[in-house]
Symmetry: C2
Subunit: 321 residues, 2 copies
Amino acid sequence: MKGPTDIVDAVLAGDPAAVARMLTFVERRADGVDEALAKMHQHTGRAHVLGLTGPPGSGKSTLVSALARHYRDTGRSVGVLAVDPSSVFTGGAILGDRIRMSELAGDSGVFIRSIATRGALGGLSRACLDAVAVLDAAGKDIVIVETVGVGQAEVDVISAAQTVAVVSVPGLGDDVQAIKAGLLEIADVHVVNKADREGADRTVAELRDMLRLSHPRPGQWDVPIRRTIGTTGQGVAELAAQFTDHLAWITDNGERERRARDNAATRIRWVVEQLVADRLRPGVTEFDHAVDEVTARHDDPLSAAKALIAGLSSDTQEDFS
Amino acid sequence: MKGPTDIVDAVLAGDPAAVARMLTFVERRADGVDEALAKMHQHTGRAHVLGLTGPPGSGKSTLVSALARHYRDTGRSVGVLAVDPSSVFTGGAILGDRIRMSELAGDSGVFIRSIATRGALGGLSRACLDAVAVLDAAGKDIVIVETVGVGQAEVDVISAAQTVAVVSVPGLGDDVQAIKAGLLEIADVHVVNKADREGADRTVAELRDMLRLSHPRPGQWDVPIRRTIGTTGQGVAELAAQFTDHLAWITDNGERERRARDNAATRIRWVVEQLVADRLRPGVTEFDHAVDEVTARHDDPLSAAKALIAGLSSDTQEDFS
């Protein structure tokens, strides 16, 4: 049975089966996944990572399909990650959305995958950031991360993108309210999808009012509002052009570098925390001994902690070098 | 200005002003507080730590006052920690409760303190566990931790006690339901307070039914139901006797040792995580350098993490030894 490090070369070559398997390793945090990600790291940083979020019914998945088709038509390869923090509840909907995307399924230049993790919220962010790295290393020019914008986990996930699009749709009454609640600050582009529906002008106007209240300071990105019709592809090329403009803008002003540094800092912290947590659990001799000594008051928590950290360092050298 | 380590001796001598100041250091996680706790550690493990929880209006604080009075009358010193995870909302109530306790305020054998932390839930558990250690080291025979049993944070806090009492009161309709929701598993003793009220028999019967459904296995503690009237002190001596029985029971069957080990493991983990987190933040040269290298793809997150852990060890030796 091949482990994560065994399939790194196949992932780097863009083999869809290897990419799929690596994403499963990432979701399950299989042994060796951090080593595999380390090997892939130098091949990352090339993709444009798009985050796309909006309420259920806003036609996000159709829009993502249309975007993917546009990118394919213009010669770019695409990876799509549909993030689902609570698959128990929305599993059905996600599945339905995926089926609608199946017209793209025969195209090896498009890779589509739902990603979910049971367990901690942090787990989802990590699985998602790692999955983006895998698709990036696999040579995808564009990686689209799609979420239903409902919770903090999803805001965290989507914030890791370079360009964040928030999708609204006419006729969902509390839509704009929901956006106000948490997504306004993270939107780089607003999209009014299903723009042929009645009420599209009002939705655009409401968004414009909202943005006016948070009027950009000089030198700040002026968040555009784009109209699209996902089902026909209308407005999609213009939306993609806007994404490219935004990437150029954050590249020029250093924001792209700043986000990359945040991302690197987060990844380093996660790995350190993992290595540390692996050593601080029952069954690890040094930890059990420390617990014994502190329980018996032969040692105190602080000096026990320092001794464990000292040991950790040599363990780390031994086990991983 | 004296820091935490400067007042350890005064705390160990039981000086109330020093204890109060140390608890403030603990709440604020002042510099040096882990060092002070380390010095106090060998003087802990003597107190009987009681957790007392129940809904607002159950007369918990009056009951705690009555318990404190009983313990004082029988020659034991007492520390009370009123834990309040959301002081914004319940600050008033807590203050009111404290005023009702003021009859004990002139007695230096009783130490009463509210504890609250803004910020992370984990922060509250930690502050509380540390505060218990301070009162224990200060020589209190009994430490009572009192919470309003509403959230996970409070369940975590109360679980750290050796003996947990869940307080019910007749006539709060959804009371028993609330207990079912989260507190049933952690109750070592059930208390029906205000037992002179109409409906007390029904509350006792409901609790009994509930306990019957979770009938204890052989060798398991048989959770008793005690009736009290906090305002008159009726049933309080019997309740205290029950607490003592429970402590003897967990001591005999090894459960006390098991809880002490869990407690030690948690404390060690917290200190390690703190020492690690202190080194993984912007402004720390090694961390900034690692972020630079990973961002530039000169290094990967895994090997950067290992290098940081190796450095951590020597830093820890330097700074703290």
